[in-house]
Amino acid sequence: MNDTLAPPAGSEPESVKLIYHFLCWASFWLIVGTMYGLLAAIKLYWPEAVEYSVFSFGRIRPIHTTIVFFGWSSMALMGLTLFVVARTSKIPLQAPKAAWIGLQLWNVCLLMGLITLSLGISNGPQEYREVIAPIATFYAVGLILIFYSCYQTVAKRAIPEIYISNWYILGAFSWMTILSITAYLPFYQDGMGNVIIQGYYMHVGVGLWFTPLVLGITYYALPRLLGKPIYSYALGVLGFWTNLLFYTLIGAHHYIFSPVPWWLQTTAILFSVGMMVPVWSGSGNFFLTARGSWHKVRRSYAIIFLLTGIWGYALVSTQGTIEAFRSANIYWHFTNFTVGHSHLAMYGFISFAIWGAIYGLLPRITGNELSEGAIGLHFWLAFVGGSVYVISISAAGILQGASWVAGESFIASVDAAKPMWLWRSIGGLMMVASHIVFIVNLWNMRPKRDADLLAKVVAV
């Protein structure tokens, strides 16, 4: 693999500034989104807290998910992809203006979304598509603009092959475009039609947007940080196609035992098992790449972040397969176990991988290195906080499910979960603290002034 010797495409001062802006805005939304999450967590323990309509639980829960999905995760991933497409195509980022406009459109949409959802103007509880269609339309325009910039960069690449990262990245942008349009077109969404689209949308959003973006970035970042080629290119290609085939088919597993057609539920369960192929071919590929490099892993929290994210990927996907079974559904569905699962995915997998890539790649293009201690503080706060969160909320889910199966009165399941909800808030508080450390770290990685930066890049 020649990428480790690549010239610094993507490190031009203009590109660095653009990427840094993406990451700064993503971090801003991370703080907003997690503050909403923390408030929601506190309210489950102390329902009278901040008793204003705009901060009511039913309104802030979708605000939390919307902002961490579209503000933090998507924006950070798109910022990183702008670097990866340029570097792996060995040319400067093309059409950076388009990406810039796309970023600002997303910021406007997020702000509008925050305001409308606070006021209760929404599509109702249709997870991750609560934001009304006029705002969603501008999201789609922004998405296509950023896609255009990535596409042009890969299209004009200086080498004949499309590096595996760009398979995943181009795929993610095309799938997300189709997915968003499918989710918002109204023609087939009356009655149960809406539910079928809902299951498809909320699952494919994670599986064919966040997952391939993270994998694409990791296929560049991990070999780069370890200074060695990826273990197997073929496994990467296998993962690409099987992820596409299997992940798209499993959305209905959110509606097991529902009036969604039985064949669709069974298909979803079957391919949830099939998901083990892309998951373990992807994560296995990364672990085999890291094998034998523990001396490097030990010294770099960036790599530790990245590998923890990969572990999160393997773990959460295997858990998801088990949850899809009808027998597991009886005990776990509707409980907080699902909340634990989604945080393991969006935090333990997606966010940890994002941080690994930022800490690993950003200093190389801004010229500002961090101390390992600063990254380590972020890592341990996030890791312990995230673990406390996921373990306690999953325990709450198991207790709720056990209470329902035992046939107790409903409030008994609330009482059973309450102590766990306190622990969940404590974990959430540590997560917020880690994000504040991250903001400080991000500031300390800001781009050096153009002249210094150029000198540094040339020296490297």
């Binding site: 489950l44 009511s56 979708p62 596409y151 499309i162 795929g171 798209t248 409030i411």
Partner: protein, 191 residues
């Protein structure tokens, strides 16, 4: 010409595969599913009715974040009603099946909890009637008055749950929300 070297072919192939799968498991089944006839006996909710206004508030407040309207045909769900059928949702847009049950399922709550008085107190402050409830209170759908007017609906909230010397009066919004909750009754079907 191969996928490794042709970006147009790569995007075209992966998008086409995705679109065909989307048609197969989402769009076509959704078209088919929305043809389901409503269960015989389900009443059509008039757009300007109290119930329709209440449903809009239910959406606005995100009640579906914690309350499902979706029962599985399983013993664990049986205390809350019968298993949900496609025909239950045929007239609903959007239907409110939900994925979280921090609070109980409401598919049949109009039968389980028909009382006006209980529902109004519960919306004003759930902890008045269920001590360890974690449901949000909705005081913004009530007015605190020194004295109730002639046609006011007074909510009998115990003194320690309201400001001293006030009476709690339900707004039209609170009444419509309660009307909606009372309307949630499963249609009986032959087993």
């Amino acid at each position: 010409m191969s996928l490794e070297t042709n970006h147009k072919l790569l995007i075209a192939t992966s998008s086409t595969v995705f679109f065909i799968l989307t048609l197969t498991v989402a769009i076509l089944p959704a078209f088919e599913a929305q043809k389901t006839e409503p269960l015989p006996g389900i009443e059509v909710v008039e757009p300007d009715s109290l119930i329709a206004k209440g449903r809009a508030l239910y959406l606005k407040e995100g009640c579906g974040t914690c309350h499902t309207q979706f029962l599985r045909d399983l013993p664990v769900d049986a205390p809350y009603g019968r298993g949900s059928l496609a025909g239950d949702y045929a007239l609903e847009s959007p239907p409110l099946l939900g994925t979280q049950r921090t609070g109980p399922d409401l598919s049949n709550v109009g039968v389980r909890q028909p009382s006006d008085v209980w529902n109004l107190i519960h919306l004003y402050n759930p902890r008045v009637v269920v001590a360890s409830s974690v449901m949000p209170a909705y005081p913004w759908y009530f007015e605190e008055k020194i004295e109730a007017a002639e046609n006011d609906v007074v909510v009998s909230v115990p003194d320690r749950y309201k400001p001293p010397g006030t009476v709690i009066v339900a707004t039209p919004d609170a009444l419509s929300l309660v009307a909606y909750l009372q309307s949630l009754k499963q249609i009986e079907v032959a087993p």
